[in-house]
Amino acid sequence: MTDSKLLLEAKELSRFFGDTLAVNNVSFNIKQGEVLGFLGPNGAGKSTTMRMLTGNLAPDNGQIIINGIDLLDNPKQAKACIGYLPETPPLYKEHTVTEFLQFCARLNGIAKKQQKTAVNNVIERCGLTDVSKRLIANLSKGFQQRVGIAQAIIHAPAVVILDEPTSGLDPIQIREIRQLIRDIANEHSVILSTHILPEVQMLCDRVQIISKGQLLFNDSLQMLTEQMQSTAILVGFSQPIDTQALNAINGVNNVEKIDEQHFRLSYLPEQNPTQALLKNAVENNWPLTSLMPEQHSLEDVFMKIIREEDAHV
């Protein structure tokens, strides 16, 4: 994966709105076949960054290179390599699905002979076959979102940029859209913005956390999961146990009493006391009922990263 082609490179992007700094010196890149998750609270600068990547907003500073083409120098060629779905899907509601996608195919300069195939292809891929003759205005929000995605991938762009593709949908629709995004990721590189954390866990290879216009974290999902590993186990007994006895176990650093029967044992990394605890439990006849390694949720890590940064400032 390391030597696969760089499809999009953003260097030192900054953007002011009046006096407010919306995006501050953000640099990142995306390789072929990668799904990059853009994570951040509302108003963090996600949408601003995406609008800059798609040429809808000029950065005050920095450079964007798409597929080897500079977006600011050659906007037409660079934009041809990008498919974009803004937060509100840009749809002409008085069109039928097929009409609209035909227009998008022409708009993106697909050769006349291939237009029909491209439209049919994308209708099938996005599961729009049953509604292809209906007016977009009469479709449900989930289907409208699908048409929006179809519009973004119709010209088989190198990079697909989706701004909060699952916002405002019901849980079933969310699942379907996620499935669709996973499908798309097989052929295109995807940049996805969201404030829903599990979505990132499910879809992305790499995660970027952005807050107040600054990039706080940029690494693979694996690294993020590692940060989620905690150094504590939760144990429960059916009768009260002496804290001192637990503290004496080899490797246990600190015992936190949750209630009479439940404890949180923290340990130093590389010194997992689980085996020792089990041995002790058997020897001393402790009625152990539960034993569980504690895991931070993505939420915790996210909050931690954002809070750490705030502390620095």
Binding site: F17, R51, T54, G55, N56, L57, A58, P75, K76, Q77, K79, A80, I82, Y84, P86, T88, P90, L91, Y92, K93, E94, H95, F103, C104, R106, L107, N108, G109, Q151
Partner: protein
């Protein structure tokens, strides 16, 4: 670019607005056509003896084209108000601006889309006039001069309307301000009373440049005036939309 023009026209005809406007304007023009014809019939016997008296073209065709110009003045704000204001309100502009097109392509495309509608209206009016050719002879040179004038005039209306539409996200505001500007350009020469001296106000007037073409005079200064208006407002639109990207 032509794709945008085509789409613009297509969307225009998907809404009832275009059909209603086309139908009602034809109804009005047909009525006016009949009144002009009636008037011509009533005076025909009196003027037939006078040598060099105005003919059918001057008494029916040209007044009808002037009427068509006034109807175009009234309906063009309604047609152009949607172009950018509605796109902005429905947030569909990113679809066009993230496609491999320049702002110029988009603006020109919208302009030609709107113009195509007016051409259709003009064509219907010309067909109405041409029906006279069955019974009499028409001065086709004067007629074509008048038609060219009308086309340039409605093209200027469209350019102004598109610019006003790019300024706001409320189609109604775009329509009202377009109408105000066009009307001002129409009557601005009322301020100048002298007919011989050059006056800025009368030079600015759309009507002052349209009238000679109705009489069959094609002056380069009139044509360049219209082209200047068209290009100026289209370039202003491009600049306005580009500025949105910059700040």
């Amino acid at each position: 670019m032509f794709n945008i023009a085509r789409n613009e026209l297509h969307r225009l005809f998907l809404s009832p607005l275009a059909w209603v406007i086309l139908a009602l304007s034809q109804l009005l023009l047909a009525y006016l056509f009949l009144t002009h014809m009636d008037y011509f019939n009533s005076i025909q016997s009196r003027i037939s003896a006078i040598p060099g008296a105005p003919g059918v073209t001057e008494l029916i065709a040209m007044p009808l084209l002037s009427n068509a110009a006034i109807i175009a003045l009234l309906i063009s704000p309604l047609l152009t108000m949607r172009t950018f204001a509605e796109e902005r309100r429905n947030e569909t502009l990113p679809l066009l601006s993230s496609a491999p097109l320049s702002m110029f392509d988009i603006v020109i495309g919208k302009f030609f889309g709107t113009l195509a509608f007016f051409l259709l209206m003009t064509l219907l009016t010309v067909l109405m006039i041409s029906s006279l050719a069955i019974g009499t002879t028409l001065d086709f040179y004067q007629l074509s001069s008048g038609v060219l004038g009308l086309i340039l005039l409605v093209a200027s209306f469209s350019a102004v309307g598109i610019y006003m539409s790019s300024l706001t996200r409320q189609p109604t505001i775009a329509a009202i301000s377009t109408f105000a500007i066009l009307f001002l350009f129409w009557i601005i020469d009322w301020a100048s009373h002298s007919t011989t001296e050059f006056s800025l106000f009368s030079w600015l007037s759309l009507l002052k440049h349209f009238e000679p073409m109705m009489q069959g005079q094609i002056n380069t200064q009139d044509i360049s005036y219209f082209l200047l208006i068209i290009f100026a407002f289209l370039l202003l639109t491009v600049r306005r939309l580009d500025r949105e990207r910059l700040d």
